[in-house]
């Protein structure tokens, strides 16, 4: 049920101000995006058309706290098929960025580990300029599991077979223990300061 007193008439504009969110109002609710989306097979509640409809109606809180936002693959299938050029893949990214800011501000809770993962990933780039897998895992797993010990157990569970397999094939040696770094790390820091999430 829609409670009209909770609708936010400015939500549309808020999304359309974000890069990638500009085409929101072009949607004519045809469902092409949803029919072709690979995730719907695995997450039956997943419905990008509905997320757009709810956004247009101003159901800000419901949209921003919907955990389905965080299972989008950014695969661009929807974008390629949309007859209205809504750019849904980019649009969902714009909505996720607003959700993330609201969660950081303590206004909503996000029921997904994806924001933790994305941030841990970005921290590697900010520090080293390249992806450092071990640094990423060491930040991600403990934060996801809520403790260092549980995090290390979860990481072992996911990686022990894989790590051994890669090691045997000569794809992960002692070198992988240490980060690859770009020489100009000062510029990485500046890029994140200027363009990163504030």
């Amino acid at each position: 049920m829609i409670k009209t007193w909770e609708l936010d008439p400015n939500f549309k504009e808020e999304i359309m101000k974000e890069r990638g969110g500009e085409h929101l109002t072009a949607c004519f609710q045809c469902s092409t995006c949803t029919i072709g989306c690979p995730i719907t097979e695995y997450v039956p509640s997943y419905n990008p058309r509905k997320i757009i409809q709810m956004s247009l109606l101003g159901m800000r809180k419901e949209v921003l706290s919907n955990p389905d936002l965080w299972v989008c693959l950014i695969c661009q299938t929807c974008t390629a098929r949309c007859p209205q050029d809504v750019r849904i893949s980019d649009l969902l990214s714009a909505i996720r960025r607003i959700a993330d800011k609201e969660a950081e501000a303590g206004n909503i809770k996000i029921d997904s580990s994806r924001p933790i993962f994305d941030k841990a990933f970005q921290h590697q780039l900010e520090k080293y300029g390249r992806l450092y897998d071990i640094g990423l895992a060491k930040e991600y797993y403990p934060k996801r599991e809520g403790s260092f010990f549980k995090g290390m157990m979860a990481m072992m569970n996911d990686y022990k077979d894989f790590g051994m397999r890669m090691f045997k094939k000569g794809k992960m040696g002692p070198k992988a223990m240490f980060p690859e770094k770009v020489k100009d790390r000062a510029v990485m820091k500046k890029i994140f300061e200027e363009m990163g999430e504030k």
Partner: protein
């Protein structure tokens, strides 16, 4: 042939999980007489985890600017790197204000929009061309191949270099090498699940399994692909998928650069074919 020299953007997995792709890419271009100059001190493209578009543009402005100084177009074997480099290129070219803002961060981000970013597959099929490639091939691949394209080759429209629903650049290349394409259209552009591997591995594994199963029931000797994240899911994680979902798959997965290398007569070891997680020996026996 018009291409003689390109800037090479290897991408982060190039010295670890996708070292086989990196080795085969370098070996193939050398054999084709195209010089690769690595983008000096390149940084990560942002992958799928950096969602802020302006951050992606700034990160890639640096890579683009380095190649631009050399006067070279960039080539990369990774579909996500390609997507991020080229969408940044398009955004920066179109928007003076954005370019000025990015340049304001640091002078090393001063990019003037003079080059292009390209995917290796695009360079092989559309720049070098099938005729030229064919003239350099010395071996025939007696292989049944499932060509897997994944996400960023045929979409989104502004960076795509192939059809969104039925891409065929890899098909053409494989047929040119003597390979046979197995029926695989419905899986060609289905996402491998990679972006969810660390946060929803249950979904990611099911998606990858669907691709692997389809290739298997189509009778493929191997899957050919052109992205290290797809390679990680379908090859690197295949044994984990088998274990988690209680299935047996055993489907070799190779990079298109490895197949092309074989057809060009390059030694299998030099192409890293002893490094793919699923054994490739049976494939090698069918190269004559």
């Amino acid at each position: 042939m018009s291409v003689t020299k390109l800037a090479y953007y290897p991408g982060c997995p190039s010295d670890a999980t996708a070292i086989d792709q990196d080795m085969s890419t370098k070996a193939v271009f050398e054999k084709l007489g195209v010089e690769l100059v690595e983008v000096e001190d390149w940084n990560c493209c942002g992958a799928a985890e950096v969602e802020e578009p302006e951050l992606v543009y700034a990160l890639n402005a640096r890579n683009l600017a380095i190649a631009e100084k050399e006067g070279l177009d960039i080539v990369t074997p990774c579909s996500i790197c390609y997507y991020n480099l080229e969408r940044s290129n398009i955004a920066l070219k179109a928007d003076d204000k954005l370019r000025a803002k990015v340049k304001g961060i640091d002078s090393s981000l001063d990019y003037n929009g003079k080059i292009k970013a390209k995917h290796v597959l695009d360079v092989f099929v559309n720049d070098i061309g099938l005729e030229e490639l064919s003239s350099k091939m010395s071996k025939k691949l007696n292989l049944k191949v499932a060509p897997y394209y994944g996400c960023y080759i045929g979409r989104p429209p502004e960076t795509a270099f192939d059809d969104p629903d039925d891409p065929d650049s890899m098909d053409k290349l494989i047929e040119l090498m003597g390979g046979e394409i197995v029926p695989f259209s419905q899986m060609k552009t289905f996402c491998c699940g990679g972006p969810l591997m660390m946060t929803r591995s249950d979904i990611a594994f099911e998606m990858a399994r669907k691709i692997l199963d389809t290739a298997k029931s189509a009778g493929a000797d191997c899957i050919a692909l052109a992205c290290p994240l797809c390679g990680m899911m379908l090859d690197g994680k295949q044994a984990d998928i088998e274990k988690a979902l209680h299935v047996e798959i055993d489907m070799p997965v190779v990079y298109i650069t490895q197949l092309l290398g074989l057809a060009l007569g390059i030694d299998a070891k030099e192409l890293g074919l002893n490094k793919n997680a699923v054994d490739t020996k049976e494939i090698l026996g069918k190269v004559v």
